[in-house]
Amino acid sequence: MARRPSPPRSVASSQEVTDEQLDAYIRTRLALAGVDLSVLPEDDEDASADQRRIMASARRFLRSTPGAIADFEFDPMGPAPAIYPAEVSARNHE
């Protein structure tokens, strides 16, 4: 039957981060990148985007994705990164 590997452990520390801490991180990172969310309405369901929903989406993303990726157990001697895997494979005649 199917082998269904367990999903990687989530990173406990990311679950303990508060909304306020995440908001500070998001706003700081966006400020460093020169991206300004304040031009969006603060909270307007009729708008195509508003600050409340963008921030909520960003918090969900930060609570799940970076931790899950970082927590994937990796062989340190595993593959070097290659951003076009299929091409690498074909060129290596795998």
């Binding site: 991206v35 994705t65 091409e87």
Partner: protein, 595 residues
């Protein structure tokens, strides 16, 4: 069409009904077209009349039940190309037939961003006058609006490009153009190639050709207009791009055959990027033969896109889809083609629990008018029908001589194909559009959230995610393709992540979810640059089935009960105030409906 030509046309169509279109042979010269670098002109492709005639062979037998075309727009791409070549149909006639359908039905379908009737007719007149011998001479195509088209507005349905007019053609469109194809128009799409087609602010545009009055039936995204244009017979074939299912999903949604080739097989030069490492251009077509013909022309090395260089030679896709004796045999290894089936593919769905009448914000936030309880039951009925269609498909392939192989998932499949690892792509789009993000985030309209999230993924995790894709690819090659040649897929993301080819194709219809026919799609993946294996198997499957031959009824032919209160059916409600509800996709749909 003159009376003489009409008579010849009908005679020819009768003959074609009795004998399958010899398209691979007829158009076989095309197979040389894209094999060499920088081959753009018909002369360079070797697709002259003598070469075509030389390769013309006797047609084989047709699949049962091939319908007689009622009008020129019923022709497949390959059929149209052959009739044009033989002078049985004129390019002007064909273009006018498509423009007539666009004029009549486009207000309801909303498949196009831009239609170019004047230049299309000019090109058709030139084609008729010069009697060009290039393989697609006079064939009208629809091109997704993220492909650069010289002199024609290219918006990607985004505020960012709303007035952009490129001064050159995307390489893949240039190859189709040089093969004689005529641009009918640019198709609607999800903004910047995310979600299903909508305006930049998220208002839904394109509808599914099989359900033009029911917005609960997705057209598939993001190549929504490309799919609807072909399914609704407003173009012979179309192009799409796929980063997360955007060719295979709309093909499945609208009973088309769409192929997402391996990364690098088709040049991305001149196509607005969304994710460098995952964008794949490819065709959406009426069947596997048409898909092979389109891909044969689109594929090949392009000095302007290093990703397309140094790869295995482009195979002869048209040869691959030719009918062969001896069942489904692997052309290189010999023996039966082995089709791998991953766990869960045939699992019966669990009957849903009654969700109760109260609205669920997680489900109802997209504003569906379909009552929640009915929607849950409808989804269940569709899942049951889908499993039955899959079972039937495998039985047919088995009967045709394929070997069906039951497989386990690769070791880390579940983790490495998860939502979180799928998100590794996001920083690429943020980098591509960083200047626009810095200028004004409102330019991104409804699509903004993933662009912001992409700015938040640390570099270490991006690198780790990139390494993880190699782990995933290695496991797929060893643990899947070590045991089979093609493999079933139920979602496009895993193969999109590692750049492997996928084909979407129709495997049935169900009526249980909406009360009228809705296509059910299948999807197979293959090893790197094995598109010819995918096309060969699906072409053979389509010779044994007729799902791909079915066409949706015109909106005006739908019974009132099927219209869902959508007006008189002539689509005349678009410009002067639509009757359709102004419901919009929201921020969350952008993450969930393909790109």
């Amino acid at each position: 069409m003159s009376e003489l030509n009409r008579r010849r046309f009908l005679e020819r169509m009768t003959a074609l009904t009795a004998t399958a279109m010899a398209t691979p042979a007829t158009l076989g010269a095309v197979s040389n077209a894209a094999s060499g670098p920088g081959t753009r002109s018909p002369a360079a492709t070797g697709a002259d009349g003598r070469a075509v005639a030389k390769r013309l062979r006797e047609p084989g037998l047709p699949p049962a039940g091939r319908p007689q075309p009622a009008d020129l727009t019923e022709l497949t791409l390959a059929e149209a190309a052959r009739l044009l070549r033989d002078g049985d149909v004129g390019a002007v006639e064909l273009v006018e037939a498509y423009l007539a359908r666009i004029g009549r039905w486009e207000p309801r379908y909303q498949a196009f961003n831009t239609v170019v009737p004047r230049t299309a007719l000019e090109a058709a007149r030139t084609a008729d006058r010069t009697r060009g011998r290039a393989p697609l001479t006079g064939v009208p195509l629809a091109i997704k609006d993220n492909y650069f088209t010289a002199g024609v507005r290219t918006t990607a349905n985004s505020f960012i490009l709303e007035d952009f007019v490129p001064d050159f053609d995307a390489t893949s469109w240039a190859r189709l153009r040089d093969a004689g194809a005529i641009l009918l128009g640019k198709t609607q799409m999800g903004p910047l190639a995310t979600t299903a087609a909508s305006t930049p602010t998220g208002e839904r545009t394109t509808v599914n050709a099989w359900a033009p009055y029911n917005e609960d039936v997705s057209p598939g995204g993001s190549s929504s207009g490309s799919a609807t244009a072909v399914a609704a017979r407003m173009a012979a074939s179309s192009t799409g791009t796929q980063t997360g299912g955007s060719i295979t999903n709309p093909s499945n949604a609208q009973a088309l055959t769409g192929i997402k080739p391996t990364m690098g097989r088709v040049s991305l030069h001149g196509i607005l990027p969304l994710t460098y490492t995952r964008d794949h251009p490819g065709p959406l077509a009426r069947d596997a033969v048409d898909a092979a013909l389109m891909l044969q022309i689109m594929a090949g090395p392009d000095p302007a896109d290093p990703r397309s260089l140094g790869l295995p030679a482009v195979p002869d896709y048209l040869e691959a889809v030719r009918e062969a004796d001896g069942g489904l045999r692997h052309p290189e290894r010999g023996g039966a083609v082995r089709i791998g089936v991953l766990p869960g593919f045939l699992d019966e769905p669990e009957p849903p629990e009654d969700p109760g009448p109260d609205p669920d914000p997680d489900i109802d936030r997209i504003g569906s008018s379909f009552p929640r309880r009915e929607r849950t039951q409808a989804a269940y009925r569709r899942e049951v029908a889908t499993v039955e269609a899959r079972r039937r498909m495998l039985a047919i392939l088995d009967e045709m001589g394929a070997e069906i192989v039951e497989l386990d998932f690769p070791t880390h499949w579940e983790a490495l194909t998860s939502f979180n690892f799928n998100n590794v792509r996001l920083p690429e789009r943020s980098e591509i559009f960083l200047e626009h993000l810095r200028d004004d985030v409102r330019k991104f309209g409804v699509s903004l959230a993933p662009w912001i999230n992409g700015l938040l993924l640390p570099a270490a995790e991006y690198v780790r995610g990139s390494r993880a894709r190699l782990v995933l690819l290695r496991e797929i090659l060893d643990e899947v393709f070590g045991h089979c040649d093609l493999v079933t897929q139920t979602a496009p993301f895993p193969f999109d992540m590692v750049g492997l080819p996928l084909i979407g194709f129709p495997i049935g219809f169900e009526t249980g979810s909406t009360g009228y026919p809705r296509p059910i799609g299948g999807m197979f993946g293959a090893e790197p640059y094995a598109e010819h294996h995918l096309l060969a198997v699906i072409a053979a499957y389509q010779r044994a089935t007729d799902w791909h031959l079915r066409r949706p009824a015109d909106p005006g032919e739908l019974r009132p009960a099927e219209r869902g209160g959508g007006g008189p059916g002539d689509g005349s409600d678009r410009r002067g105030g639509r009757n359709r509800s102004p419901r919009r996709y929201d921020l969350f749909d952008v993450m969930e409906r393909g790109e």
